[in-house]
Each structure stands twice: as structure tokens, then as C-alpha cells.
Symmetry: C2
Subunit: 517 residues, 2 copies
């Protein structure tokens, strides 16, 4: 048994049985070892950003990490944006970066680079496996490290010779640290805030946005008469009929300020104190209103759901106090296809248990509202802001969730970063419906351009325009083997989406939307 | 005049008048400032790897840097692989990475990251512009630094507020350091080696592979009876009828060892001492034969052409001693389309002055041989080994070379990393012919898998297979607005290529090749 075989066996024994990969020469022993460990599901991507984003989507749904296999520094670079997103969403990932053989580094061959320097910013844990004897414990440590808490990217740099040399065999899984319980004194302090009667909101993030956390938060909200707000871009939010509903903090700083206006207390549950996504001239970066005190109930990595449940009980909130969203659906839309009728069609059709991956950006503005009463579903957003996450995350979420449909709402500009994901969806036979919101522009930048106080001329506007040439997403999808259609009216979109929900395997619908909102 | 306007004016005044970009919110003032400086040509890319690769191709042909504009750490990550390639090819690039406003960093907003850590490995020079007052001199310094010598990536981190604040205006260009002349004592040492009569080869790299360097090297070769070898993957090699011909050092270590076998002296001209691209069990990483002494005539950044010319004169080589390749072309091929007939068609048709961008990998094996006697042309390779360089480099080379045709030989696997480049080719009306060598696999990895001594089973082989599903490059090209055809016989390929050479604007030809060589 060589190092690679023992490594893969160690990963599988620790519960990591899926590896998204785009390997090269230095990873060939890892690839060859796949046949020796049949439990490892290896998923090929045409581009590294697909592999890292898929690992993010996988872990968000599975609650445990996938592995990624990348080829040296440049492969890591290609996958870096989606590792950044995973870091911001506290997603556990075992990020394996192949490297030259240990003795080869000194020759500065063309692909030699400083992998650690590239990996540092996205990784909560980094180790270079420098011998076959310790490789397996390195791997077990990487898996445990990826869980955090909070979850993080654990990067294991894997020299080629460490894979090909003879190994003593796998090691058992390392102990995983569970989320930290919140201290009683903190709970009591927050209880006093809740009882103050002053205007208060609870800002929920991370795992508190799953059903148990939401129910406990809603009990608190109803009993103490405080508001609930979700983080702007949650990695995973459970929502729909039968679950407590809550608004998300708005992306645009001006609107977020209005949401928070008048608060005296803001209680953070796994969330960061709200700040503007970008800086704008004359707008404050810190969005907490003057005179509002920020309290921390739970930090990322704390048992936020447990804290919310205890707090609800301490408040004396009845077990059935949570307010649950009633079932409701918009009518089937007709006529012009625009952001509103687009959203209505989704609300009219969304089946139970769909995983929605939301990179709809500006054109997706109305979708959350129109699906608030749809059957329960998961909603996966972009916590790190690096676009090109949607199609890969949809791919990984589908791999983790056999039997569930994934609906990927994807803006045209964002789609073009990691479009290669469609090919993996075909290869793996995944039930992913990709809807391209094609408004023929980087519409969000048109908005941002005016918000930052810039005065664009024709040359600037050309840099935000996607009509020269027009992207034909139907042809692009077909090029990657995905069945695709184009919708130009509300009825067409509705009917195509209905067919896609009823048909297995990947589909793409290009929704032609007006260039502006 | 704000900082961004003064920055762009400073770049243009320093000779940097082309900027490849994929901007985001933090770059909006830069984008808005484009209208104030009409001399700056701004070229939009759908993905950052296209922008950085295009800047590489541009500078290889223009001999001066382009600027790149990227969005924060994730945008830099997306562009990193092609910056790695530029670094290995000593290409000057002014790499501008937008960042949050200086005062916004403390809030750790979602897109905050350590840009410098990501940039370090690829950059010969890094600076963060921390005030509008010094931004223009930072920019002038970046341009000068990019020239080296040798050329390098100069990374300027550009906070948003530094762009939007009021500026004192542009500054003049900073002084560029010219290549260092080689010392007389070195020339005399090398002269003695050349006169030794012992088996000697000269390994040429970088700028010595342009006509003047090649002619001088050929004079030396003919007079001293020594061999000439080019580096394995030159950033730019001038070749064809009327120019000295030379073999390139082989990629596969076993073949390179055979090429170098028996040498007593190896003279490096801007080249690194030859090492194996990857490490393989039981194969030496250092390819210099035992008993062979390595001599350095010129390091990267030295005036290697001047040194070769002086050395030729010192040797008493006649001015006309260089041996020039005679014109010759293969016959128009017929029948089966395979690596050989594919190459013959290119050799039969290649017009004068074409820029060939070669990412053909395994399937392109015969092309160099079949074009050795074609009319003179430039040949651009992949010095850094990070695949996905070809389509972006072809794009940038075309921007730099109006009136010249670019022929991009692109392997199917490599094409899928930065396919988005085609869209920029349409937008800019570039004369690029992309030929996809579609052998439906990562063929080079099939080869490498056996070379590293791995014994693959079906699962491993599936990770190298591109037939599930098959990629339809004609549809993909059409999706990005490029006219495309498919060739399945030698005649079809020949005739489609003939039409493409005769027609302006971008074209794509998908050449269906057998799965193995």
C-alpha cells in the first residue's frame, strides 16, 4: 500500500468519501489509488473553481466535508475564489493541493510556486505532508481541523513522492471538536436585554438558520417582542411554509441602515456586526446605528441553536410560540418576462424540498418574496461575495443530496466564471436546473457605479455591457451536454420550468430579462 | 482630477495604453475614469484568467506591458495561473488589484482578504498604494519595475478611496533599466569553451530566440561546430523559412536526456539549467549529463543577443555564416484526420507572419516539424506549465498585433479553463483562429500516469476521460458569438483552415482527433 492509498483510506474512514478534483501529473498516484478504495466517490471537474465550489455546496448540505484535489499553486489559484467563499461561510473543506516531490522543489521547475502563501488567506489550517510515515495522521488531522468549530478550509499540501512511497497504512479518524456551549452568564446578560423592552433585533447567521434555530428564535421573538433578521448571504437558510420566516439584512448599505434604524440593541447569533459590503464615499462602513449596543450571544463555532433554545426556555416562551409561514403561492404569471414575473413563476411551481442556490444578483430581487410561502426548501447564498459560486455549489449540493432537486438561479455575468460546472452535472447525472437570469449586463455594477459617485461615460458603460456579443446560454449548455431552452415570455418560462422539475437530470433555462430592473 | 484619472494618465504617458479588465465595485472609479483618458484601450474579459493571460500575450508581442485590472483577492486568485505563466516567461505586466477603501479594511467585510499574500509568489514587485498623493508615482514605479530586467509582474494594490479622492495629477514615466551587457571576462570564458572542440551545446531562451539572437547563435554554431537548442517552452520563438532553425529541448525528461547525452559543455543563454518538468520515480530531476559542465553566458535580464553577437565576432564567424531554413511545405493531406495530417494541413497553409499560440499538448506533437519551412512566423509557448494560457494569450497577442493573424492550437482539456476568451475576441474583432485539438481526453495525463509508475484501474482512467459527456466546441464557440466548424477528415480540416485564414475576425475549428496519438 502506497501513501496515496493509505491517505484515501484514512479520508474515507474519517467520513470524507467524496473528492472533487482536477488533477495533474503530480497527483497521478492519488488518482491511481482511487481504484483501491471503492468507497471514495471521485468527481471530475473541468476547472478548479468548479471543484472547490462543489466541495462548498456539498458540505453545506451534507454537514461534513468533501475533499478537493488540486494541481500545484496554479490549480489552487484557479480554485481560490470559491475557497474564499467557503471560508466566509464557515464551510468545512479538506483542500488537498498536490505538489512536486519533496526533493524536486530545489530545482525550481516551471510549476514550482509558494503554495502556502497562496493558501494562507483562505485556510484556517495548513500543513505540508513531508513524509509518507506521517501523511495519514496529517490527513486525519486535516479532516478534524476542517470541522473547526467553526468549519474552515483545511489545506493539506501533498508532495508527489509522499504519495508514491510505501506506507504503513491508514490511521483512525481524529477527534472532532463539537460546537462550544454558550456560557450561562452570557445567556443571562442577553436575557436582560430581551427583557429591557427597548427596540431590539437578533441577527442570525450560520447554523442558527436551520429549522431548530429558527423555531427557537421565533419563540424568543414572539415572547420578547424583538425582531429577527438573517445575515445578508447565509450559506444555508431553511425556509418556506411551516418554518419561521425572517427578512435578510439588505445588501445595499442604505437599505440595511433603514432596517436597523432605531434599534437600541442588536444581538449577534453566529453573525458578524453588520458592515457595508463595500465602502462608498459619504456612507459609513459600520452599519450599527448610533446609540445601539451590540451584544454577542454566540460566535461562529458556538452552539448557537442550543443557546437560542435555552434562552427561549429562560424567557418562558411557550414551545409552540413560533410563528410559522403559511402556505401561499403566487398565480402563474403571464405576459412580459421580467424580474417580477420570473419570480412569480418560481413561486408558483417550487416543489417541496428543493435546494435553491441563489446567484441571481440584481435580477433575482423578487424571488425570495414570491417563494416565502412555497413548500419548505433550502436557500444557499454567497457569503464571501466572490462571484462564480452558484453553478459549482449547485453541483456539490446535488452530489450531497440524492433525490432532491437543485434550482440554481444564476446571473448571466456570474455564470461565465464557472460555467464548466454543467459538464460535471451531466457526468454525475445530477438533478440540477440552472436558470440563467440573462439581462445582458453586469447590472449590479451599473448600480454600484452610480452609488460610488462615479460619473460614467460611454467607455465606462461598455465595461459593464454584455451585449457585444450576446451570450447564447442555450448553445453554451448544449456544448457541455446539458439540455437547454430559452424563455422570452412569462408563460414560456413557467412551462419550461415545470417540465424541468418533472424531468430527471440537468437542465438549463435561459430567461431573457430586460436590461434594467 | 481624481486619483483614478491621474493613474490612467500616468500609465498612458509611460507607454501602457492597454488594460485588460474584469472589474467590480471597488474598481468603479477606475472604470469611470476611462472616459477621461481616451488613449487607454480598455478590453473587457468575462473571467480574470482571460485578462491576465491576454496581458501576457500582449507584452510578448508588443515588447511592453499592458495593465490588468482585477477585483480584490478572489479576482487575483482567478487570474493567478496566467500570472504564474507570465512570471516564468519574464513577461512585463502591470497588475492592478483593486481593494477596499483604506479605512474599510478594519471591518473585515466579506470580500476582505490578504491580497499581498496571494500576489507574492507571482510578483517581482508589489506595492499597496496607500494615498492619492503618491498613487501616480507608485504607478510610474510599477511600469518601470515591470520591465525588470528581466520582465516581471509588478502588482499595484489599489484601494478604492485612493482612486476617488482628488489628485495633483499625473507624473512622468520613471526610468526603465535596460538589459545588462554581459561582461568581457564572461565572453572570453565562453569563447574558450567554444574553442575547446569538446561536445558543446548552447541552450537559448527568452529574447535570444528572436531573429537577431538566432542569427548570431547560428553563426557561432556553424563556426565553432556546437549545437543549438531552444528552451522547452519559449514565450516567443521566431522561426520558419529564412530564419535559423533549432530544436527545442524535449518536455519528457527521458527524451531531453537523450538530447543532452554526451555533452561536455552546456552554455546557458537566458536559460535555466535543464531540469525535469515533474519528478518521476527513478528518474533524475537534474537533466545535465554526468561530466557536463554548465556555463552561463547570459542570465535572464542580461543582453543575451548582444552577447551572442559579440561572441560570434570574437570567434571570427562570418556575418553570413548563419544557416537559414529553406522554404518547404508538406503536401495538402488527405484521409484520416490525426495528429500527423492535422499538422500537415497547418504546414501546407500557414501564411507569412502568423502568430502561433501553442497549447496543443500531446495532439500538437507534429506541428513544429511540419511548419519548420513555412513562411516566417512567431511561436508562443507555455513557459510556466499552468494550462489555460492559450486562448487568453492568443487574445492579447492579437490586440498587440493589428494586421497579423493569430493561430491558436488548443487542446480540448486546456481549452476548458479559459474558454471565455473567445467572447473578448468577438468584442474586439480580433483575427484569431482557434483550432481545438479534440482527442476527448486529458491525453497527457494518460501518458504521465504510466510514466510516474502508477497502475490505473477504471476509476482512475475515468478521471482522464472527456467523453462523458463529449464536449461540443462548435456549440460552445457559437454560445460566445464565434463562427465555428467541425472537421473530421484531413480535407475538411485543411479546407476549413484555408477559409479561416482568408476571412477576418475570430473563427474556431474543432478538429476531431483519435483518442490516442
Amino acid at each position: 500500500m502506497n501513501g496515496a492509498q493509505a491517505l484515501i483510506r484514512t479520508l474515507v474512514d474519517a467520513g470524507v468519501d467524496t473528492c472533487f478534483m482536477n488533477p495533474g501529473t503530480s497527483e497521478m498516484h492519488f488518482v491511481a489509488a482511487l481504484d483501491e478504495v471503492p468507497e471514495m466517490h471521485s468527481v471530475l471537474a473541468l476547472f478548479e473553481g468548479v471543484a472547490t465550489g462543489a466541495a462548498d455546496g456539498y458540505a453545506r448540505m451534507a454537514g461534513r466535508p468533501a475533499a478537493v484535489l488540486l494541481h500545484l499553486g496554479p490549480g489552487l489559484g484557479n480554485g481560490l475564489a470559491n475557497l474564499h467563499n467557503a471560508r466566509r461561510g464557515y464551510t468545512p473543506i479538506v483542500n488537498i493541493v498536490g505538489d512536486h516531490a519533496t526533493y524536486h522543489a530545489q530545482y525550481d521547475a516551471p510549476l514550482q510556486s509558494d503554495i502556502e502563501s497562496i493558501a494562507r488567506g483562505v485556510s484556517g489550517w495548513i500543513r505540508s505532508a513531508d513524509s509518507t510515515a506521517t501523511l495519514q495522521s496529517d490527513a486525519a488531522d486535516a479532516v478534524a481541523a476542517s470541522f473547526g468549530p467553526p468549519g474552515q478550509v483545511a489545506t493539506l499540501i501533498l508532495p508527489a513522492d509522499v504519495c508514491w512511497l510505501e506506507s504503513d497504512g491508514p490511521v483512525p479518524a481524529a477527534t472532532v471538536t463539537t460546537p462550544r456551549p454558550v456560557e450561562q452568564s452570557t445567556l443571562e446578560q442577553i436575557l436582560q436585554v430581551l427583557k429591557s423592552g427597548e427596540p431590539t433585533a437578533i441577527l442570525l447567521a450560520g447554523s442558527s438558520l436551520m429549522e431548530s434555530g429558527l423555531v427557537a428564535a421565533s419563540r424568543i421573538s414572539e415572547t420578547a417582542q424583538v425582531r429577527l433578521i438573517a445575515e445578508t448571504f447565509p450559506p444555508r437558510l431553511q425556509r418556506g411554509a411551516g418554518l419561521p420566516a425572517l427578512d435578510r439584512l439588505m445588501y445595499l448599505a442604505e437599505f440595511a441602515q433603514m432596517q436597523l434604524d432605531g434599534l437600541k440593541h442588536l444581538i449577534l447569533v453566529g453573525a458578524a456586526s453588520p458592515v457595508s459590503f463595500f465602502a462608498y464615499p459619504e456612507i459609513a462602513s459600520d452599519l450599527v446605528p448610533q446609540g445601539c449596543t451590540v451584544h454577542v450571544l454566540a460566535q461562529p463555532g458556538d452552539d448557537s441553536t442550543g443557546a437560542l433554545e435555552t434562552l427561549a426556555d429562560m424567557l418562558g416562551a411557550p414551545a409552540d410560540a413560533a410563528v410559522l409561514a403559511a402556505p401561499s403561492r403566487p398565480e402563474k404569471p403571464s405576459g412580459v418576462l421580467n424580474a417580477e414575473s420570473f419570480a412569480a413563476a418560481i413561486g408558483a411551481l417550487l416543489p417541496e424540498d428543493v435546494i435553491v442556490v441563489d446567484e441571481g444578483n440584481t435580477a433575482g430581487l423578487f424571488v425570495a418574496g414570491f417563494t416565502a410561502g412555497a413548500p419548505r426548501h433550502d436557500w444557499l447564498c454567497l457569503p464571501g461575495g466572490a462571484i462564480g459560486f452558484g453553478m459549482p455549489v449547485a453541483t456539490g449540493a446535488a452530489v450531497a443530496s440524492p433525490g432532491r432537486k437543485v434550482l440554481n438561479l444564476e446571473a448571466d455575468g456570474s455564470a461565465m466564471y464557472t460555467f464548466q460546472a454543467l459538464w460535471t452535472q451531466v457526468r454525475e447525472g445530477l438533478d440540477v436546473i440552472t436558470v440563467i437570469l440573462n439581462n445582458q449586463s453586469y447590472a449590479i455594477l451599473n448600480l454600484e457605479l452610480s452609488r460610488v459617485g462615479a460619473h460614467p461615460g460611454p467607455k465606462a458603460l461598455e465595461m459593464l455591457d454584455l451585449t457585444n456579443p450576446r451570450l447564447d446560454f442555450v448553445a453554451l449548455a448544449q456544448g457541455l451536454g446539458v439540455a437547454a431552452t430559452r424563455a422570452t415570455t412569462a408563460e414560456e418560462f413557467h412551462d419550461q420550468l415545470e417540465v424541468a422539475f418533472a424531468t430527471p437530470g440537468p437542465h438549463l433555462i435561459e430567461a431573457i430579462l430586460p436590461p434594467t430592473l
